[in-house]
């Protein structure tokens, strides 16, 4: 049996909006093992984004517990969460979220800067990941000089550079056309085959098909949780 990367127990998040309390996530129990590729699906308002923020250690739960890679992270302080994000999670966002004025290389180096890695080592590791995503010849380009697909690949390299336990992709294809979307999903699939645990948040069914397991959220609870038929085998 492989190790659990994510384990949540009764994970709950309430927001107070004016006089009303919004129960965005109402007690989610979820376990994700090392090496899994899970798509978290759900319509808007399903609590999917709130759940993802907690999984990504960007937000803390109102109640319930969350273990990431064996460490209980549900009751950590902001700065402790920042260190967990830095060491264990790689983010790929819908809007890329690259620093526009920095080169691709510097963008990829960023997590390592906050990890305190020396400049030579940083450069080496960032170059390695950029080569992995096929951007060896674009390292000195800045995001505005790149296509959407290239930018998202820089983001993937950045997400991988700290060798994270979890790669968390939030609607990664939302700003890409269908061809680039397919390329990116193939890349994520390859990474997963190499052993990378990936959680993908999306509302597009055909994107979710690329994952091996789908978790559907509705009204803040898990509605369905099932294994995909292996897509690659069918092709």
């Amino acid at each position: 049996m492989s190790e659990l990367i994510i384990r949540t127990q009764g994970l709950t998040k309430h927001y107070v909006l004016g006089s009303e309390t919004v129960k965005a996530v109402r007690g989610v129990d979820l376990e994700i093992e090392e090496g899994e590729f899970v798509a978290i699906m759900g319509p808007s308002g399903s609590g999917k984004s709130t759940f993802m923020n907690m999984i990504g250690c960007l937000d803390t739960p109102t109640a319930g517990e969350y273990w990431l890679d064996g460490q209980k992270v549900s009751d950590l302080s902001d700065d402790q969460l920042a260190r967990v994000r830095n060491g264990k999670i790689g983010f790929v966002f819908q809007t890329f979220n690259l620093l526009p004025r920095a080169t691709a290389l510097h963008n990829v180096e960023l997590p390592l800067i906050y990890a305190g890695v020396g400049s030579k080592e940083r450069r080496r590791r960032a170059q390695e990941k950029l080569e992995l995503v096929g951007l060896a010849d674009r390292m000195d380009h800045k995001p505005p000089e790149m296509s959407g697909g290239q930018r998202q690949r820089v983001a993937v390299a950045r997400a991988l550079v700290n060798e994270p336990a979890l790669l968390l992709a939030d609607e990664p294809t939302g700003n890409l056309d269908s061809v680039t979307s397919a390329d990116l999903m193939k890349q994520l699939g390859d990474l997963n085959k190499a052993g990378q645990t990936i959680v993908l948040v999306t509302h597009e069914h055909d994107i979710a098909e690329h994952a091996r397991r789908q978790v559907h959220l509705k009204d803040g609870v898990i509605e369905r949780d099932f294994e995909n038929k292996p897509v690659e085998a069918a092709v």
Binding site: N53, G56, L58, D59, D78, D79, A82, R83, R85, N86, G87, F91, F93, N97, L98, L99, R101, L110, P111, I113, Y114, A115, G116, G118, R158
Partner: protein, 404 residues
């Protein structure tokens, strides 16, 4: 290592918006420049006066008429006469050199030249008291004083004013003081310009001649000057003068004196006090612009934090702690202020040099003023940078990432 990276990031942000950065620092530049210029002016004035007082001699006591009191009520300016000077000379023999000073501004004529100068009726000791030297001729002597002789010693600049250079050509010539002929016997060396004392444009004649031949017998003295041989004797001389003057003026013991005795050190202290107050005032006003500059920096830093909300969100999502974000923005504010401070020091030096050249004001840029101004501007950077930096540090990464 991390700190170095954070500094590099802050520098990059300053460089990325170079025009705005320079405009932002302008307040600090002007503030620091103004403070340095003002302090340089004050320092320059002080050094100049100190130099002058040293030139005048540090052992000179000046006795001037004060207010005259009768039953505690002022009856206007008191008078000092030549008898006072004579009593001082007789009563302190050996201790003091004494000379009265009768002063009158009058018309001076030489051939077809005319000039308006100060005539000083003095005793021969006057030249010793002020340590005046001759460039030509001789001083007048005791005999000429007693004989009310019409002889004159000219200040260094006077021959030039009368159209005769060099000065030695004036020796033996006759000049008219208020129409009365005087023989020029000597010309003084250049003494330079001093605030209270400018012998270069004065004409010195025996006191008795001035009193009886020019001023119609009037002997109301402008001042009596006395000098000791060494500064150590000043206190004793002070007491002696006070005692004799009180006796001469028939003052009751304990009554308010109707004269003032001042030594040059007192003058210096008084001047320094005024000068310091003035310098502080000017530097204070300049300091206000430094404060305004600091507020400008804070303003721009707040704008910068808002503008870069998304960047902050990205950095936090990737693992930047509050301290890392805070340091980044603080270093940026600090850098802007120190940059402004350095430019301001340059501006201050330039302005001070310009004032010296254009207005002939003495300025001295003290290194301590430069250091204080720089430290102060760094302090302003820290103080006004903290609030924006804190705002950046406590941003919620989720909100910051969503910020458009």
């Amino acid at each position: 290592m991390l700190l170095f990276e954070i500094i590099a990031v802050a520098m990059a942000a300053v460089r990325a918006n170079i025009l705005r950065s320079v405009l932002t620092t302008l307040g600090i530049v002007i503030g620091v420049g103004a403070v340095i210029t003002m302090v340089a002016l004050g320092e320059g004035a002080q050094q100049r006066v100190e130099k002058q007082i040293n030139l005048m001699g540090t052992t000179v006591l000046t006795i001037r008429p004060g207010q005259q009191f009768s039953f505690g009520v002022s009856r206007g300016d008191a008078q000092m006469s030549v008898e006072d000077a004579e009593a001082l000379k007789a009563g302190t023999s050996g201790l003091l050199k004494v000379s009265p000073e009768l002063q009158s501004r009058l018309q001076v004529a030489y051939l077809r030249w005319n000039s308006n100068n100060q005539m000083m009726g003095v005793w021969p000791e006057y030249f010793e008291i002020y340590n005046l030297g001759l460039s030509a001729g001789r001083f007048f002597d005791e005999g000429e004083l007693n004989g009310r002789r019409r002889v004159a010693v000219l200040g260094h600049a006077v021959p030039g004013q009368l159209g005769e250079t060099p000065g030695e050509l004036m020796i033996g010539q006759t000049i008219q003081l208020r129409g009365i002929p005087f023989e020029v016997v000597g010309v003084l060396e250049e003494k330079g310009d001093a605030a209270f004392f400018r012998p270069d444009e004065q004409i010195f004649v025996p006191q008795s001649t001035a009193q009886f031949r020019v001023m119609g017998g009037r002997d109301r003295l402008n001042a009596i000057y006395a000098a000791t041989a060494t500064t150590a004797e000043l206190d004793r001389a002070f007491g002696e003068i006070d005692r004799i003057m009180r006796r001469e003026h028939r003052l009751q013991p304990g009554a308010e004196a109707d004269f003032n005795i001042r030594n040059s050190a007192d003058l210096l202290a008084t001047f320094n006090e005024t000068n310091e107050t003035f310098t502080m005032l000017l530097a204070g006003i300049a300091g206000v612009s430094l404060l305004v500059g600091g507020i400008g920096i804070m303003n721009i830093m707040l704008v910068s934090v808002t503008e870069r909300t998304r960047e902050i969100g990205i950095r936090k999502a990737l693992g930047a702690t509050k301290a890392a974000i805070m340091t980044q923005f603080l270093v940026e504010a600090l850098f802007l202020c120190v940059l402004g401070g350095l430019l301001g020091v340059g501006l201050g030096y330039g302005a001070a040099a310009l004032m010296t050249r254009v207005a002939q004001w003495d300025t001295v840029v003290a290194p301590s003023a430069v250091v204080i101004a720089l430290v102060f501007s760094a302090g302003i950077g820290l103080f006004f940078g903290i609030w924006p930096a804190r705002r950046a540090a406590i941003l919620n990464p989720i909100d910051a990432l969503r910020y458009e």
